[in-house]
Structure formats: C-alpha cells, structure tokens
Amino acid sequence: MAGTDSASSLEEIEAYLAAQRDKRLLRFITCGSVDDGKSTLIGRLLYESKLVFDDHLAALERDSARFGTQQGDLDFALLLDGLIAEREQGITIDVAYRFFASEERKYIVADTPGHEQYTRNMVTGASTADAAVVLVDARSGVLTQTRRHTYLLSLIGVPHVAVAVNKMDLVDYGQERFRSIEADCLALAATIGIEGVTVIPLSALRGDNILERSAAMDWYDGPTLMGYLETVPLDEDRLTGRPFRMPVQWINRPDLDFRGVAGTIAAGTIRPGDRVVVQPSGHQSAVERIVTYDGDLRQAVTGQSVTLTLADDLDVSRGDVLSAVSAPAEVAGQFDATVVWMSEAPLIAERRYLFKIGTRTVPGTVTRIKFALNVNTMEHVAATKLDLNGIGSCNVAFEEPLPFDRYRDNRDTGGFIIIDRLTNATVGAGMLQYALRRAHNIHHQHLDVDKLARAAAIGQKPCVIWFTGLSGAGKSTIANLLELRLHRLGCKTYLLDGDNIREGLNRDLGFTETDRVENVRRIAEVARLMVDAGLIVLVSLISPFRSERDSARGLFEPGEFAEIYVNAPLAVAEERDPKGLYAKARRGELRGFTGIDSPYEAPVDAEVEVDTSSCEIEAAVDAVLARLRELGMLI
C-alpha cells in the first residue's frame, strides 16, 4: 500500500519513533520439553506484536498444509523453524534468536530446544538472558525436564524465571490444576535456590494471558506473560550499581598524541576524574576523557562501548581490566569453577586448553574434576571426565593470574569459554565461583609428619562438621550435644563456636559483609589446621553466604567436610531469641543482623538438613550422626 504523506500521519510516525527511541531491551530465553508449545508461544508473541508480515503469513499457510500438525489452523510454530533438516525431523535443534516489541520494550528471545542432549544450547541461550520463560504442559505438570531446565537456569545465573503453564485450555482452565502445578514449581525453585519465580497460567494457542487477561481464568490475578516481560528487571541495572570494571579490548592509537583504551563496560559507571587501577599490574591512574564519535561523555554506564584516555602514560594492553580503585577485582590463578562441557571429546583433567575470559586468552588446565552434576536429580556424582553436555564442579588453574569477579556477581568478568588448542573449537564454558588460595607458587614448607601420619597416631579420621543456620536455629545446642556424644565415644574433637571466636581471634571483626566473609574465612582456616592435626572439628557459625561456605568446603578433601543446615523458620528462631538479639535488631539497635536486615542464603547441597521446629534436639543429633556414618565420615 502506498503511503499518503499527510502531515498528521507523519507526525504520528515521528511521535512513534520518539517513543521507540526510549524503549529498553530485554533478552530472555524460553525452555520447555518437546511439544510443550514453546514454538507456538513464541510464534504467538511475534504474531501479536504484529511483526509477522503478510507474506510470511502466506508462506505459513502454505507450509502449514505441508508440515503442520494443526489440521487447517495456523500453526504458529512454523513461523520459527529454520533449518531444512529440522523441519523434516519435526524438531528444533539449535538456538534461534527472535525479535519482537511491546509498548514498553524490545525483546530478543533465545529459543532453545528441550531435548536432553542439548544442554549446551540452553546454556548458550541463557548466557545472555535477563530472564527465562520455562514452559510446562498443564496436563503433565512439572517433569524431569522442567527440573533440569530450572536447574540449568540457576547454574547460568538467569536472575528471573517465569513458569508458563501452557495448554490451560486442555484442562478446562481449571484453577485447582494450576494451583497444584504452581505449588510444585515454587517447591522446585526453593530446592534449587532460585528466588523470584512467577507462575502464569496460559494458552499459547488460544492467546489466554499472553497479552490480554484471560476471561476464562478470572481466578488468576497475577501478571500476563507480556505484563511480566514488560516489568522484569534488566540485569544491566543491577550491574550498573556494582564497582567499575572494563576489560581492555583494544588500544586505540591513531597517532602519537592519542592513546585510548577501548572496551565495553562490564560493571559500574565511570566519569572523568575517577581513579582506576589497571589489573593485574596494579598501576593506578585517573580517567581523563571518555571519547566517543558523538563527543566526550560526562558519564558512561554498564554495557556501553567506550574509549577512555588516562591521565598517566601507563602500560595498558588488551586483556587487562580497568577497575575502580576503591573496589578492584580479585586477582588469582586458581579457581573453583563450574564447567559445562560442549564437545564430543570429553574433558580430561590436567589436559591443557585455552581459556578465554573477558578479553584475555590464557593457557590452563582443569586440575581436578571434583564431581559431576546429574542435572536430572541434582545429585553429585564422582567423575574423572566430563562428556558432552556434562556439568562438573572443578578446580581450574590458569598459567597466569588474572583479575576476575565471581560469576554470580558478573558474567563478563566471571564467565569463560574453553578452547581446544588443536581443533580451535569451543569445547566448554565455565563460571568462576571463587579463588582457591592454595597458591602453588608460594613455596610450601614440606613437613615430614603429615596429616595421614597424625591421624593414624590419634586413630581417627579427621573431618569438619559445619553447622550453618540462623541465629537461634539451634546450631550450638546440636553441635554441643554432638561433641559430647563423640567425646564419649573416644573421639578427639574440638568445637569452634562463632560467638566464642569473636571474643578472641576475630575480635577485630564486625558484621559488615566484608567482615563476615573474613570471619568465615579465618574460622575455616583454623578448622583446616585442626583437621591437619587429626581432629574432628565441629564449627557452629551462622555463615550466611553460600559462597563462603563453598570456599570453606574448598579447603578440604572430598569426604572431609559436611555441611549441616540447621533449619528453623525465621519466626521460630525469632521467638526463641535466646540472646535477645532479634528484639534488638527489630528495634534497630543492631545493624546487619542475619534474617532481619542481612540475608541468609540457605544451602542447596548440604549433607544434612535438620528442621529444629519439627524435631527434638536428641533426634536431630541422632539424624546427623547417622548421616555422617552413612557418608563414611564417622565410624
């Protein structure tokens, strides 16, 4: 149709363009099992956002007759399938990216298949996603595949997840059916440790709760799928609040007078005058200018690609990271990392690969595969190699130390790919969890009497039993009683109690996040010395952060460390309030109190969990003892 350039319609389009200019971009991933209706859902979103042009629709009608499964009706799924081979097999087998827009935002959807062998595709699609939509068929509810997808999403750190309970039309839009699936989803999210899960009942085929609220489901008062997508937070905004990081991508040197450091800001904001440190060298300078083609900027933010000039003539090169002087990145060469393997040839520990992290490529090895994860059952399984689509918790060692952030803090400075040195293929990807501080380059004093010898002399198998939980959950009571039992059995034990240690070794520490981390670190190191000395060590410590507990675990051999989650609902712990601390915290007299104004991150893979609101102390101790014996840690 030919346009009529009437002034009013042009004004309209200019107003439209002005509105478009301010839209923001949300990237999300969809996952589901085959036939859950993922393609139909995406096709529907595209269709509704009117980006499906008429002739695509004409082709669709033609193709529906040839391949379609919808006898006569439009098969939205056919809008999506691209590769000929896939069409013929009738399944989608790779990551495809789709585009659409709503009133508020633009969207890029990573469409990934549900088939088991394609973990790799899902991980790829999720790596850039701000949010995820997991499809569940209302008739079948939460399946093993749903668990796997949700688990992978948590692993890749997709911060927001919506579960779309699809095909509600086939269960008569029944509220009861939905509520039971919803409860399963929320339980699943809790086990996996994902916060912020939204469960939405819908029908992709009929369009219920996609854009419009469904008249057939007036009992549902949550957001529609589009309503969710329009408001879910962007990861970029979280990163903007973090300390400045910019991996140096390229040095811009058009002539002798100009030397710019080009890169994409991975976190934080930067302004002229801000002090930065070049990592790993540690040289400091201040930003002089933020140079762009559109003129110098007064400020640049996360996600922007800029060129900075520095006040001092420092040695900066590709692969370095510019960081805020006040909060630089940690520099390390050895890490605990989660690795996803993406190649037919398995990952072998101690084989040399190339690791690309940020803008730096370094040789290194996976020194140890601590265990593999079964993504269906979420169990840890012993492994010496990782096969295609395998996921493992590993120690990795790079041949040179480099600046990094924990992956969960920043994907750009904490995520890496693994490259095969011979084929140049990308064979794996990984996420740095924390640095291992057993620096092999510091010369370790060799001692003739070692842990084994000391343990043998005492006649027991040393280990750490680490109790974590809220204040008032019952950690100390249980730990105390357990020690008494062990003592009576003739074990050589020691109980490290958080409160007691704060009176001595850690009396210089407060309750800020940094101090809490240091508190846990020191106690873990003391426990390590004691295990080295041959003792059975009990630790009773709130230890609210998962990563510090993981670091503590990383100090020990497998089978030496057991995490006991002493679980009591906050309300119960608060009611007990043995030291009157909750009352104080509630009155605002105590800052940074776990559970009140400082978070507690519940363990996801504790060896034992005891709920002290529902069982007696004696029974809890029995349970812990029995489990530790089962694990072979205690005789």
Partner: protein, 313 residues
Amino acid sequence: MSTNGLHPDPAREDASLTHLERLEAESIQIMREVVAEAENPVMLYSIGKDSSAMLHLALKAFYPAKPPFPLLHVDTTWKFRDMYAFRDETAARLGIDLLVHTNQEGLAAGVSPITHGSAVHTDVMKTEALRQALDKHRFDVAFGGARRDEEASRAKERVFSFRSSTHRWDPKNQRPELWRLYNTRKSPGESIRVFPLSNWTELDVWQYIYMEQIPIVPLYLARERPVVERDGTLIMVDDDRLPLAEGETPQMRTVRFRTLGCYPLSGAIESDAATLPAIIREMFLARTSERQGRLIDHDQSGSMERKKQEGYF
C-alpha cells in the same frame, strides 16, 4: 522529534541504555574484537542500508582512528548507477580504502542476470566472486551486514560464522557463543564471516539511520523512475542493457526499493514515501516483507540456507 542522533545529550545523567544504544554497543564490541584478534579483516560493503549502518558503526567503534580495514565491494557490474555513485562518494568522503572485485572469468563468459537467470548469475558473480576476492587478498575475517530477523534460517546464524577453506558453511560445525565471548581462533585457510548487526531488526536499522542521519542510496526513497512491469514485479530500466520485449515501453512511476541488488533482479514498489519517517511508516503497513523484492529468494522456502551452504553470503 529531533534527529540529532541516538545520544540526544552526551552529557546526560541518565544511567540506562536504550535498546538501540545497547545494540550499538554490542556491534562495536564485536567489531573491536575482530580487529584485536584477526590478521587481515575486511568489511563487505554492499552499498545497501545495512552496509551504511554497519559502516557508521565502524566509524564509531574505532574513533578517533579510522576503521582499520578496507571495504570490499563484490561488483556484478549490474548494480544501479545510483549505487556506484553513492559507493564512490562514500569512500572518498570518509577516506577509507575501497576494493572492488568482479569475477573476470564470469564477465568474459558473458554471465548476466539477463542471459543466465538469477541463480547462475548469483552463483558466478556473487558467490564465486566473493571467494575469489577473499582468497586473492587473503582476508581471514569478513564483516557482513546480515541480520537474524531477515529470514527464518538466519535466526540460528552465529555472530561469528566459520567457513572451511573452501568457504563452505557447515551448520553442524558452528561454535557456541556465550556471553560476549567469541572464539576467533582458526586454522590456516579457514575464514570467518562476522555479522555485527545480527541482533538488529529491519526497523532498528531504519530507526538508527534516521536518528544518526546516516547517508543512504537515494533509491530507497520514492521518486519517479522508468520501470517496466514483469510478472507483477516492477523492474527499473536503469540503463540500456535491459532488453525490452516487443511493445514493452518503460513508464515513469513513483517507486522506491526496499532492498537493493542487481537492478534487473530488484523489484521496485510503488510508493510515495520520500522521507525516512514515511518509509518507516510504510514498513508498518507493508504487505510484503523485505526480501520479497529480491528475486533470488523466490524459488522455494529453504533456498537461502542452501545458498549459505554454498558460500553465498
């Protein structure tokens, strides 16, 4: 609305990026990554609007330096005259090296869209010619302006697309792309096509051109042009190489082009959209999607994928 660019106020305090700013930043990051890691990159320059946007992004990516690679135009000799004029003017204005390559054997054999049809012409004068040019100059990475939203088979295309030493694309052998990490390593002889506009849509490109005031070939805007109508497609009579059937006389009609290629293969649409907002407006009302004007895609669905396997861009 003011059209003074994507960044209306460089000194603004607002901390969040709009979708176009985010796309722009991503494209720049991709281009810099190539320049930092490739030995001998080149930018394929097709003179179309996507090329214009891509070139503009390159100016931004390396500013204040010039883009550190030449432009390569694979010339079938059948482009519109306006395109040649625009190409030469652009290279001169920006002071960027422009390489033009034509398949001389094809030319000598008289291959043309008129005598050989679109399939053979494209194969010899575009696909084969591109391979020749890349081999001749030993380019290891070539930027292209393709977008994932153009066609269903492209939705799965990687940003970095690997080609064997015979320039073939093997869908099974592409690398996973996670985060912003691109693995650019390759064996001798292999090459990479890199698509910095992968995540842009057609509307994004038009909007960007509008806001950034990027020059484009005037053929995109409606104007009276001499055309003949064949099988419902309007073909512009751009020079006297287009044989006219008996009784066929060019008529002046107000037309424009949604995509530009070889003029005998590019269908015009009737339109009086003579400004960018008018084009964008028309896009919303469009009855035909972008590539329908391009005759090479018409054969059957899935044809683009076959072309890609054979090395057509």
